[in-house]
């Protein structure tokens, strides 16, 4: 594991809201994982599990309540000089979920995409800025003419691609994709996901892919983490997670996904998750098999290990 280059380390991250008040929400409750350079880590879970909050804490949209996020060796939540912050903003970028709210309706597409270029002075002349925007539009599969239009003239999928172009403009190393395809039609989802995969190869990007659509996540991710009520309950390579889920919640989640296969659907039996099924004490995130982590008690850990061998 130490030969792989870790680009992001999340250690015991906690993000609480309204701390101390009666409506305190522990959105992210002691979550730890690493992301390796060049990989795609998928983060799945249902609404309220804290996956989006995790993404936003990592990129500093929220100030973490506790724990640390280490990006390229530097602590993200430390006090930073303006220059450091600018560096950070260039290296880590985000793609958002709602194609209708992620673009400023009053700005032309050219200005939206060039925003990062302007902030970081990446283009010396107006012409250079235009060229770069055209390049980015082409990269995401749109036309030059689209630069002069307004967001409301585009479909959801096209808007999402504009959002991707905007993120790419500053040449980041790491992109957090917060439910980037949830609001899109099925065939458009495939377009955007293919685009993201291509870009990853071409530019050597690392992704944190947050989503609730498990089949898409499996397709794009190398490893997948499953979150439940603020905690990470399982983390494993994508195929391993689907073929051999160990945590009862993961099993329940997987059994609930409908597939476009009527025969399979006629025979599918859904497994319900009951949190009280856990027995024992000392719940921790443990490595049951190499690379496969599960949140379990000591007793469950012994049982799981026994089954694996």
């Amino acid at each position: 594991m130490s030969e792989k280059d870790v680009i992001l380390q999340v250690n015991n991250l906690k993000q609480y809201f309204n701390v101390g008040k009666p409506n305190e929400v522990k959105a992210v409750d002691d979550v730890s994982f690493d992301i390796y350079r060049g990989e795609t880590l998928g983060l799945v879970g249902e609404s309220g599990c804290g996956k989006s909050t995790t993404g936003r804490s990592i990129i500093r949209l929220y100030n973490a309540t506790d724990g640390e996020v280490i990006f390229n060796g530097q602590n993200v939540h430390d006090k930073k000089s303006t220059a450091d912050l600018k560096q950070f903003n260039r290296k880590m970028q985000m793609i958002f979920q709602d194609p209708y709210a992620s673009l400023n309706p009053r700005m032309k597409v050219e200005d939206i995409i060039a925003e990062g270029i302007d902030i970081h002075d990446l283009a010396k002349t107006k012409q250079a800025r235009k060229e770069r925007v055209y390049q980015l539009l082409e990269t995401v599969g749109l036309n030059k003419e689209h630069a002069n239009r307004y967001p409301h003239e585009f479909s959801g999928g096209q808007r999402q691609r504009i959002g991707i172009a905007r993120a790419l403009a500053v040449e980041p190393d790491f992109i957090i994709a917060d439910e980037p395809i949830s609001a899109l039609d099925v065939s458009i989802q495939a377009q955007v996901v293919n685009l993201m995969k291509e870009l990853q190869e071409e530019k050597g990007l690392t992704y944190l892919f947050i989503a609730h659509d498990l089949s898409m996540v499996k397709y794009i991710s190398d490893r997948i983490g499953v979150m439940y009520f603020g905690k990470l309950v399982e983390l494993a390579p994508a195929n391993e997670l689907y073929e051999n889920p160990l945590h009862p919640y993961t099993k329940s989640l997987l059994s609930a996904i409908p597939l476009p296969d009527p025969d399979y659907e006629r025979n599918r039996k859904r497994i319900k998750y009951d949190p009280s099924v856990h027995k024992g004490t000392n719940t921790e995130f443990r490595e049951v098999k190499p690379g496969h982590f599960v949140s379990c008690t000591e007793e469950e850990f012994k049982e799981l290990q026994a089954k694996q061998s």
């Binding site: 249902e46 609404s47 599969g141 479909s155 959801g156 999928g157 096209q158 039609d185 099925v186 065939s187 458009i188 989802q189 495939a190 377009q191 996901v193 293919n194 995969k197 609730h212 498990l214 089949s215 898409m216 499996k218 397709y219 689907y242 329940s252 989640l253 609930a256 996904i257 409908p258 597939l259 476009p260 296969d261 009527p262 025969d263 399979y264 659907e265 599918r268 859904r270 998750y273």
Partner: protein, 354 residues
């Protein structure tokens, strides 16, 4: 199996347009289908395909100010629903045809108790006393799986979770034992596990009440789970219609191929997802031929010239594509589709077009 059942709803050559600033948007362009008693018909399509407009037109919920039924009829119980006045439609809505909408947050009135909202249709349509209506409402709450119904009866929507609210919405819709239930993306806004629960609930209730369901969605997994028959819509038209096995295992229209291939399967190790390029057509100026032609890698010249007629693939399976014309060349569908077709052959043994 299918032909013996009674037809509850028949839509004939429906054409609906919207009048907007920019001109006339031809949202529905010649839609034909039937709904049989006790079956679930899924209408699949993406944004702009016209599936929601179709369902709203059955319920008479399209805004009168800018929508117009240009041609066609919707036949229900010997009446043409497109010709009925709002007052006449009110007698049918909630009683014979009920609807479940997508967003459980906004489908319930936040200022009325749940109990009151369930009783409403019962009191209006069934001449029941308040006592009888309340009894029925409590029955319905149990039926949809809401624990402690007497307590919940007096509560407000904000005291329920999203999944619970959707159950209440289903309860309201089924209050008067409607003949048709139209569910417009009822589970799209819900988590996977809650979605599974609601789908199970709907199938269960359908058996008990024998209602026919029109299920509108863009999620093919859900379709495979709930549907008996499937209609695929694109560009305001139905491009393919058949039983759920026929559509999933023997699809004939390139759009259906595209839809099915753009979903990753959980077991196959594919390198690249097939993605339909481009975006759906602008219905302000609908293309004159096959609406899918511009995005169709199998398109032939005629696809840009004339709209394909509906070709029969089996007694229950029709597809509107020039590929089924005798003069059309044989094409190789994408690999994942071929896999499905092999499965179909194995099951049915020869009941299809090669």
């Amino acid at each position: 199996m299918m032909n013996k059942q009674e037809t509850i709803l028949k839509v004939n050559d429906l054409n609906i347009s919207f009048h907007t600033f920019a001109g006339e948007v031809k949202a529905i362009r010649g839609v034909n289908f039937e709904l049989k008693k006790g079956e679930t018909l899924a209408i699949v399509g993406e944004s702009g395909s016209g599936k929601s407009v179709t369902s709203k037109s059955i319920m008479g919920l399209l805004p009168k100010s800018n929508s117009e039924v240009k041609k066609g009829e919707i036949l229900f119980q010997d009446k043409n629903l497109t010709k009925l006045s709002d007052k006449q439609m009110q007698k049918i809505r909630g009683k014979d045809i009920a609807m479940v909408f997508q967003d459980p947050m906004t489908s319930l009135n936040p200022t009325m108790t749940i109990g009151k909202q369930i009783i409403e249709p019962i009191l209006k349509h069934q001449n029941a006393s308040k006592e009888e209506a309340r009894k029925r409402a409590l029955e319905l709450l149990s039926l949809v799986g809401i624990p402690k119904p007497e307590q919940r009866f007096k509560q407000y929507p904000h005291q329920f979770s999203g999944g619970m609210r959707q159950r209440v919405v289903v309860a309201i819709a089924l209050a008067c034992n409607p003949k048709i239930l139209i569910a417009d993306e009822p589970t799209t806004a819900l988590d996977v596990t809650i979605q599974a629960q609601i789908l199970e609930l709907m199938k269960d209730l359908q058996k008990k009440i024998e209602t026919s369901i029109i299920f509108i969605t863009h999620d093919l997994g859900v379709v495979a789970n709930v549907a008996d028959r499937v209609a695929v819509m694109y560009g305001g038209q139905i491009v393919e219609i058949g039983t759920v096995d026929e559509i999933f295992y023997n699809p004939q229209h390139p759009y259906t191929w595209g839809l099915l291939s753009s979903m990753p399967s959980l077991d196959a190790k594919e390198e690249k997802l097939f993605a339909i390029p481009g975006t759906p057509p602008d219905l302000l100026n609908p293309p004159k031929g096959d609406p899918f032609a511009a995005r169709n890698q199998y398109a032939m010249k005629i696809d840009f010239e004339q709209q394909p007629p509906l070709y029969q693939v089996s007694e229950t399976h029709y597809a509107a594509t020039w590929l089924l014309h005798p003069n059309a060349p044989k094409v190789e569908p994408p690999e994942s589709i071929k896999q499905r077709m092999r499965q179909f052959k194995a099951q049915k043994g020869g009941d299809h077009i090669e």
